[in-house]
């Protein structure tokens, strides 16, 4: 079993508050892992720690077995780890095409055409990102992470604020890319329909701890998970 990305004992404190408490996570090559949990559970914090956004977190991050804990976000990106953000995080004044092209320069001048086609951004190529619709901006945000076919993709609620139809569309694209490119995905998502439809495995976070981990069926049947999270959905 090859692990694409692994976190060991990940911990993150804000003052006296522990947002992430000794969390272990291990994702196999090519897997789509769902990361769910109530608001404030520490999902974004986990992605921040894995991607290097959090400063001085506790624990270890291994990318394809190599310790990257001390690397900067840009170094992790060059080694094949990419992420998107919960709040849209794009280059508002640059055109869609220009920012994708710039993103490609960091990863050996990767092909930007394929990303534009996969995410249906071609018609918007010349528009400044600030001017395109919210849904388009979310796809652009994802596209920025996808340039250069990263091996590990950390996605923080890529479908946040999208319509049901758009979310399912996005889920289909992700599933498809994971299959074709063999990219490993950690997906934070509140919509259970999306999660259950594309994820191979699910990790449930609650109050900064890993509450449960397993297949969709296992997680769905887990009484603690129902109590802590799924129950509140109904």
């Amino acid at each position: 079993m090859t692990l694409a990305i692994q976190g060991i004992g990940l911990t993150r404190r804000f003052g006296g508050f522990t947002a992430l408490d000794n969390v272990d996570i291990a994702i196999r090559q090519g897997e789509i892992r769902g990361l769910i949990g109530p608001n404030g559970a520490g999902k974004s914090t986990l992605i921040d720690v894995l991607s290097g956004r959090a400063r001085n977190p506790g624990g270890q991050v291994l990318l394809n077995g190599v310790d990257v804990s001390r690397l900067t976000p840009q170094q992790r990106r060059k080694r094949g780890m990419a992420r998107s953000f919960q709040r849209t995080n794009i280059f508002p004044e640059l055109s869609v095409e220009q920012q994708l092209r710039i993103a490609s320069w960091a990863v050996e001048d990767a092909d930007t055409d394929e990303v534009m086609d996969e995410l249906d951004l071609r018609a918007l190529a010349d528009r400044p990102a600030a001017e395109i619709s919210y849904g388009d901006q979310r796809r652009l945000d994802l596209a920025l992470a996808l340039v250069g076919r990263p091996r590990v993709l950390l996605l923080d609620e890529p479908a946040a604020g999208l319509t049901m139809e758009e979310s399912l569309d996005l889920a289909r694209i992700l599933r498809d890319l994971a299959n074709r490119w063999g990219v490993t995905v950690l997906l934070v998502e509140h919509d259970m329909q999306v999660v259950f439809s594309i994820c191979d495995q699910i990790t449930v976070l609650h109050l900064g701890r890993s509450l449960s981990e397993g297949s969709c069926a296992e997680v769905r049947a887990n009484p603690t998970v129902i109590a802590a999270y799924l129950g509140t959905e109904a």
Partner: protein, 332 residues
């Protein structure tokens, strides 16, 4: 290419090629030789030269705003530094005039680069205050350290007879200086344009736009930023060295925050979003001041009014307004 249906007008991309840019540049250089004939008198020519020094300084601070998204209230620091390094080295014959010139440009550039490395993450008011502090610190040194360059009296100095084998007498002749300063301005603007189209320039623009995301798509964000500080300082240093050479005189006012502030106003009035904006703003303001003539004592009030009007009516400055009018015309 099809354009998605909608209420947005199709955006026609007019990416001017580099060849066209070079043609424009050469035309501007040639046109520069007519400047001495346009000016009605020596005094007018001298004013013209001064307006071109201003244009270079405004270009410098405008470029910082455009490429780094940073506002500086101390860009005159590099202007003064250029002038002082050159004048002091030449006056004391410490090095050959050629070395003095190189150092006059290199020292401010290097200082700005280091400054850029250190303050890369500092934004907004804190950044403005830091730049102000640097300018004023140098001003105080120049003002108080009499042994350096006669303190607040300022220091006259004689140009070396020759520089790179060429006679220097012409450098204090307004007709020559106008053509020289104009040519340097044109080359500087071309250089900045080419830089902003280069990879590093585009990466710097991305960093300005969203530093965090720039890091997460794989770029180190400190170096491109520092480079922009250095380039901006180089242009300010060129302006300062030119002015010192032309006047044969340096004074602490070359560092003063009021000069930095004036340059910033010129950049904003002309349109800091555009590479030529600040230079146009500088020249326009310079001639408004000249026209104001007897009202010159109210100059600060006039500038204030112009600034308010520009900010409210044309937030992208003169060039922004011209482009907008041009754009409306094109749409038919």
């Amino acid at each position: 290419m099809t354009v998605a249906a909608g209420d947005v007008a199709p955006r026609v991309k007019t990416r001017r090629g580099t060849p066209l840019l070079l043609v424009l540049g050469v035309a501007a250089l040639v046109a520069g030789f007519t400047l001495p004939w346009i000016a009605p008198s020596k005094v007018a020519m001298s004013l013209m030269a001064q307006s071109l020094f201003d244009a270079l300084l405004a270009t410098s601070v405008g470029f910082l705003v455009r490429q780094n998204g940073r506002v500086s209230f101390g860009q005159a620091a590099f202007f003064g530094l250029g002038g002082y390094v050159f004048a002091i080295l030449v006056a004391r014959s410490l090095v050959t005039p050629e070395v003095a010139l190189v150092l006059a440009l290199a020292v401010p550039t290097l200082v700005a680069f280091l400054f850029g490395l250190v303050v890369a993450r500092v934004t907004g008011v804190a950044h403005a205050m830091l730049t102000l502090a640097i300018g004023q610190a140098l001003y105080e040194i120049a003002f108080r350290w009499r042994e350096l360059a006669k303190g607040d009296d300022g220091m006259s100095f004689d140009l070396p007879a020759r520089l790179f084998g060429l006679p220097t007498r012409g450098l204090q002749d307004p007709a020559v200086m106008v053509v020289l300063a104009w040519s340097i301005l044109v080359v500087a603007l071309l250089g900045l344009k080419l830089f902003s189209q280069s990879r590093t320039g585009q990466i710097a623009a991305a960093i300005r736009d969203n530093e965090e995301r720039a890091r997460f798509i794989g770029f180190s964000t400190t170096l491109p930023r520092a480079l922009v500080y250095a380039i901006a300082a180089l242009i300010a240093a060129i302006a300062g060295t030119l002015q010192a050479t032309y006047n044969g005189y340096i004074a602490p006012q070359m560092f003063h925050w009021s000069l930095s502030g004036a340059a910033l106003v010129m950049a904003i009035v002309g349109g800091a979003k555009f590479i030529v904006g600040p230079a146009i703003g500088a020249i326009v303001l310079f001639y408004i001041k000249d026209l104001a003539g007897q009202f010159a004592e109210y100059w600060p009030a006039i500038v204030g009014t112009v600034l308010v009007v520009v900010t409210l009516v044309m937030p992208e400055g003169i060039v922004g307004l011209i482009k907008r009018i041009g754009g409306l015309g094109q749409r038919r």
